[in-house]
């Protein structure tokens, strides 16, 4: 009978702990892993701005974000790759894409001495297609005069899990190399011709770090935090640009003039001398017409704060802040969020 008493006690304690905590409004969101660090920073800071609301964001992947916001199991979604027309049609009502920050996808490698390398888009495409297999291939040497490249096979590392980072990278390769576009194409998961698959940005950077001769692609933050060398890539203006916060923001500035109204744009290979060619927005997905007034207003207010005060947190966490022209366009978009037809955000 000891068993029975202890079980009862355990159940009692647990049910006591299971009582709801304070009754703030909880707003749930799900989606991309890439912006998780800055979203968690924002949502934490925002509790000081508005103590009545709690934003709970979980990173289950861009696809997960799109699926869950479409199924309305969460209040907002987040994605590294814009939704397709079919996906938007599948949603119960109109979804808005709101850009939040920008990220850069970098080529990182493991070579003795960690030399600074330069790549062009077609060389990268050829490597990932399996056409260039050794580090001292003439095409690579031509771009990197003065660097002694070893006679070693290139160990290609890509993502095994579906990911927005992959989408950005293959989107770029598809634009540069028609062979890539035909053979492999774009997607969050693709049929890689060669290479090992690592799980997550962490898996790829870990793999590259351990494997001599490896070449992989990761988000900038992972390369920096793991002290991995990053390559400069030739952009549309034929300049070799190193990935950095400045060159990422420059990529968006170039695209701002031709920004579509719904923000669903690819920023890879943009015009501009300073632009880094493999960059992208990451977006939050919210319904234009919010089902709940309290949550809807909180969301709209947060989006406003995010695109203004929130941007100052981006640099430290290695994200590129939005360029000013884009912020102006976002303001107009946020004002379009309504509850039962009435805009939620009063004129600012």
């Amino acid at each position: 009978m000891k068993t029975a008493w202890i079980t009862a006690l355990a159940l009692l304690v647990t049910s006591a702990l299971a009582q709801p905590a304070a009754a703030q409004t909880l707003i749930n969101g799900a989606g991309a892993t890439f912006p998780y660090p800055i979203y968690s920073k924002w949502f934490d800071e925002y509790t000081k701005v508005d103590p009545e609301v709690r934003f709970n964001y979980q990173s289950i992947g861009s696809g997960g974000g799109i699926k869950q916001v479409t199924a309305r199991t969460v209040d907002f979604g987040a994605t590294d790759g814009p939704m397709s027309d079919d996906q938007l049609k599948a949603a119960p009502s109109e979804l808005l894409h709101i850009p939040t920050v920008m990220g850069a996808v970098v080529a990182t490698y493991n070579l003795p001495g960690s030399p600074k390398l330069k790549f062009s888009g077609d060389v990268l495409a050829d490597i990932f297609l399996g056409k260039i297999t050794k580090w001292n291939h003439p095409k690579i040497a031509a771009l990197n005069a003065g660097v002694s490249l070893p006679d070693q096979p290139i160990v290609v590392v890509h993502r095994s899990d579906g990911s927005g980072t992959t989408y950005i990278f293959v989107d770029y390769l598809s634009k540069i190399s028609s062979e890539w576009d035909k053979k492999v194409g774009r997607g969050t998961s693709v049929n890689w011709p060669v290479g090992l698959g690592g799980k997550g940005n962490e898996g790829v950077s870990g793999q590259v770090k351990q494997q001599p001769g490896a070449l992989g692609y990761v988000e900038l933050a992972y390369a920096v935090k793991n002290n991995l060398p990053v390559a400069s890539v030739k952009n549309a203006a034929d300049k070799f640009v190193a990935p950095s916060i400045a060159s990422t923001t420059a990529a968006a500035a170039g695209a701002a003039k031709s920004m579509p109204d719904d923000f669903r744009v690819s920023l890879t290979n943009p015009p501009g001398d300073e632009a880094y060619p493999i960059a992208s927005f990451t977006w939050l997905l919210v319904y234009k017409d919010q089902p709940n007034e309290l949550k809807g207003r909180a969301l709209a207010k947060f989006l406003w704060w995010m695109s203004h005060e929130g941007q100052k947190y981006a640099d430290d966490l290695l994200y590129a802040p939005l360029p000013t022209p884009v912020v102006k366009q976002i303001e107009a978009k946020i004002k379009q969020i309504t509850y039962q037809g009435k805009p939620l955000l009063a004129a600012r």
């Binding site: 299971a18 905590a21 968690s40 934490d44 934003f55 979980q58 997960g64 199924a71 933050a221 992972y222």
Partner: protein, 280 residues
């Protein structure tokens, strides 16, 4: 075989068995060592009492995840253990024709289903109709994962209770049902508890099924029908991030998780120790 040969074989086998035990323990020690080396520094009071903090800020912790895991485990046990133990008892004792065979077969099959598939099932069956993620959905997924382990272990251990024990009880005129509940089950109890503990240890560390059910929560949960934090989810989120501080917290989280299971396991054994620890 000459006696000397037999003794030699005996000695050899004893050494091999000891070596096997050593090899089994070695990776465990390596992994524990790795966790301790990487994460011990991050296990402090803050860890147990504070909510997660964003990157770059000191003092973050996993208090909500620790409580969340406890709640999920208790709920999963409440859902899964009765069906599991009674199911095992059924499989061992029943004289029915087809149901035992089918149930045993399906239990073995269920054991091999990847936890993510079970998570997807729980998502389809509980989260979608409820239109929200919840601790209940998470506990359901975990209970389903526990089920085959508990059922099969219970069945095997009950089978091993000697028939002489049952016959003695029956000969005294005790009705069948009392024999099962008061003689057979208590005799097999220690073994069943091991099976239960292994099952709980298994689900305590599961991440994939919780991604689409319990979902995770940066804050304290607000009810069992709301998203809830859990240690494996938090560990996973931190382990795949680029920040060293978060990595350390991930390792610390793993240490705390193992510690949690240790405590639960210990308490369970304490509660059920006693007279019946198997016929030796």
């Amino acid at each position: 075989m000459k006696p000397r040969t037999r003794r030699a074989v005996n000695l050899l086998m004893s050494w091999l068995a000891a070596a096997a035990a050593g090899l089994v323990v070695l990776p465990l020690l390596l992994i524990f060592g790795f966790l301790l080396w990487q994460g011990a520094s991050a296990v402090n009071v803050d860890f147990f009492t504070h909510l997660p903090k964003p990157v770059g800020e000191v003092g973050g912790g996993m208090a909500n995840a620790i409580v969340g895991t406890l709640i999920l485990l208790v709920l999963a046990a409440v859902l899964g253990l009765p069906v599991g133990i009674l199911g095992g008892l059924y499989l061992a004792e029943s004289r029915d024709r087809r149901l035992p065979w089918l149930a045993r077969f399906l239990a073995d099959v269920l054991n091999g289903v990847p936890s993510i598939v079970i998570g997807i099932f729980a998502y389809t069956v509980i989260v979608l109709p409820m239109r929200r993620f919840s601790a209940l959905a998470g506990a359901f997924a975990l209970a389903v994962i526990m089920l085959p382990i508990v059922v099969r272990t219970s069945e095997e251990l009950v089978r091993l209770v000697p028939a002489s024990l049952r016959e003695a009880a029956l000969a005294l005129g005790i009705p069948q049902w009392k024999v099962l509940l008061r003689v057979v089950l208590p005799t097999a109890r220690a073994g069943i508890i091991t099976g239960v503990m292994v099952a709980i240890a298994r689900v305590a560390g599961e991440t994939a099924p919780l991604l689409f059910t319990a979902f995770g929560n940066r804050f304290w949960h607000q009810g069992l029908d709301q998203p809830i934090a859990a240690l494996p989810l938090q560990i996973f989120a931190y382990a795949i991030a680029p920040y060293d501080d978060w990595h350390r917290q991930a390792w610390a989280g793993a240490l705390v998780l193992i510690g949690l299971v240790f405590v639960v396991s210990f308490a369970a054994r304490l509660a059920t120790s006693g007279r019946f620890t198997g016929v030796r």
